[in-house]
């Protein structure tokens, strides 16, 4: 039985634990929180349940429409982008500009942004994104009582804890509708639900088992002394990396922090379901309220490029303060140098993603001198490895030991 069936039929909340992975995890032979789910034979009829770690959407129609949009997005990313790039090259050739010319953004835009094929490509991508969000929003808001009851049922339950601070003063940068997600990360009670299912498109379907997060957690470097007792995941979102880190370091105290209350609420729900002892808190990454030198490992997962330059500077200072000497700060994010983006078509795509997909801070992230800021606060920075997430950048920072310490 899945949690929707339980809540939807009015079954006692206490039965939640008995009918999900929490109970399964307690049974001999079935390890806790490892993502394992007994396979159902093909053709089995069962409550909609999950695909791997992801609860299936509640109706076949909604699931099918979202699947279709996933395929359409793949088509847009592959076929339409390829056609748009070829058209951009042709436009540059007509103007006598080499296709790999390192053009300033305004010049690239002036040449490309009114072309019908490039506009069609962008329009199709944005329409797909809007349809995906709207379909999910309709489900969660249309059945708000049910979904809110699910979260309420576990807000005060363990394992792990949930700290919500509805009066937290949120900096403006946290309140944008990034990726045109309705309400963004803070403005909808269902921000976590929307983000979790909406980002299936971003992950090209590799999201149902937290695949990338588990891979990243396995590859993140640890302090040279091997000591990992406390971990903090900044901008934890729906807690996918925090969960994967808890699975890698089951004895460590793991914290997930996010400015969005609905995000950490949903993260806590998922962690409880998986019997993972993680503490989720609604706080600011630049004001974590943890003691100095507290964490062995401080991480973030594709969060830095969603933060304003001022916020980035402040959170880097805060990360240094709370990382213990010898500890590691490793914010996973997009590469800061990317030759592909330097041609006109790449610049155009980067621009419309910023402007129309509301990647508000992504352009500034690339100009913000983040590596130097990390060095300036005192970290020793390694930008070459290890690569925690293939295709993404490396910012592997270690807080130096005091002079003379071994």
């Amino acid at each position: 039985m899945d949690r929707r069936t339980l809540i939807g039929t009015g079954t006692a909340i206490a039965a939640l634990a008995a009918a999900t992975d929490i109970d399964a995890a307690a049974k001999p032979g079935i390890p806790a929180g490892n993502g394992t789910k007994p396979a159902l034979p093909a053709g089995t009829l069962a409550p909609r349940g999950r695909f791997d770690r992801l609860e299936r959407l509640p109706t076949l129609a909604l699931e099918s429409r979202q699947d279709f949009l996933l395929s359409f997005r793949a088509f847009a990313n592959r076929d339409l982008t390829r056609a748009a790039s070829a058209r951009a090259d042709a436009i540059l050739a007509e103007k006598g500009v080499p296709k790999d010319a390192d053009l300033p953004l305004p010049q690239a835009l002036a040449m490309l942004q009114d072309d019908p094929l490039l506009q069609t490509s962008t329009r199709a991508w944005i329409s797909c994104q809007q349809l995906s969000w709207n379909g999910l929003l309709e489900e969660f808001e249309g059945n708000a009582d049910r979904y809110l009851a699910e979260m309420e049922a576990v807000d005060r339950r363990g394992p792990g804890t949930l700290e919500l601070n509805p009066d937290l003063k949120l900096p403006d940068y946290t309140r944008h509708e990034i990726h045109i997600q309705p309400g963004g990360y803070v403005g909808s009670e269902f921000a976590g639900h929307l983000y979790h299912y909406g980002t299936n498109g971003f992950y090209s379907g590799r999201n149902s088992n937290d695949e990338l997060h588990i891979g990243a957690a396995q590859k993140l470097p640890i302090p040279n002394d091997g000591r990992v007792r406390r971990i903090l995941d900044l901008g934890t979102g729906v807690g996918q990396l925090a969960m994967a880190l808890k699975e890698r370091f089951p004895e460590a105290e793991v914290w997930g922090l996010d400015a969005g209350g609905p995000m950490v609420r949903y993260a806590h729900l998922r962690a409880v379901e998986r019997n993972l002892d993680i503490n989720f808190v609604q706080r600011l990454a630049e004001d974590t309220r943890f003691p100095d030198d507290h964490f062995d490992l401080v991480t973030s997962y594709i969060m830095m490029h969603e933060v304003s330059p001022e916020g980035t500077s402040a959170l880097i200072r805060e990360a240094y303060r709370i990382t213990r000497p010898g500890g590691v700060f490793y914010p996973i994010d997009f590469r800061l140098t990317n030759a592909v983006r330097r041609n006109a078509a790449g610049l155009y795509r980067l621009w419309w993603d910023h402007r129309w997909n509301n990647e508000v801070w992504s352009l500034k992230f690339r100009q913000n001198g983040t590596p130097q800021q990390i060095r300036d606060v005192g970290f020793e920075l390694n930008e070459t490895g290890p690569v925690a997430l293939a295709g993404f950048g490396v910012l592997n920072a270690t807080k130096p030991l005091p002079n003379g310490a071994a």
């Binding site: 034979p41 093909a42 053709g43 089995t44 009829l45 069962a46 909609r48 349940g49 695909f51 109706t59 076949l60 129609a61 099918s64 429409r65 699947d67 279709f68 949009l69 395929s71 359409f72 793949a74 076929d79 390829r82 056609a83 058209r87 072309d115 019908p116 094929l117 506009q119 069609t120 329009r123 199709a124 944005i126 329409s127 349809l131 379909g135 808001e141 249309g142 708000a144 009582d145 809110l148 509805p166 949120l170 403006d172 944008h176 509708e177 045109i180 309400g183 963004g184 803070v186 403005g187 909808s188 009670e189 379907g205 209350g261 609905p262 609420r265 609604q282 129309w356 997909n357 509301n358």
Partner: protein
């Protein structure tokens, strides 16, 4: 949010700064932009019905009967999921590939007659 008991529950949402993508016009006429959204949405609706039909067929083969509940609760095998994905992607390419056509050399017919 729907008018319901949800309104009586504590809120943990803050005020967002809205994006303006809804006002974006890419195709020179907002109604043409709307039509792009319509044709993608129609594809999703068609696929939804097609997938439902596949499940009905499968249930009739394996169970000899079908109810709405059985359709909703059907758990596909990994092979079926992969087959559905391949069918979906083929459908997307078949229907939408024309969007990738470089029509920069095309002219309105009336203009050509002049």
């Amino acid at each position: 949010m729907a008018e319901s008991a949800a309104a009586k529950r504590p809120s943990f949402a803050a005020t967002a700064i809205p994006a303006d993508a809804g006002a974006a016009v890419f195709l020179g006429n907002p109604h043409l932009d709307n039509l792009m959204t319509v044709v993608i949405a129609m594809g999703a609706e068609i696929w939804s019905d097609r997938q439902r039909a596949r499940i009905v067929e499968r249930l009739l083969e394996t169970h000899g009967k079908v109810t709405r509940e059985m359709i909703e609760q059907y758990v596909p095998s990994d092979e079926e999921r992969k087959a559905w994905e391949a069918e979906r992607e083929a459908m997307v390419r078949r229907v939408y590939d024309v969007l990738a056509r470089d029509a920069s050399g095309a002219r309105p017919f009336a203009e050509e007659r002049r």
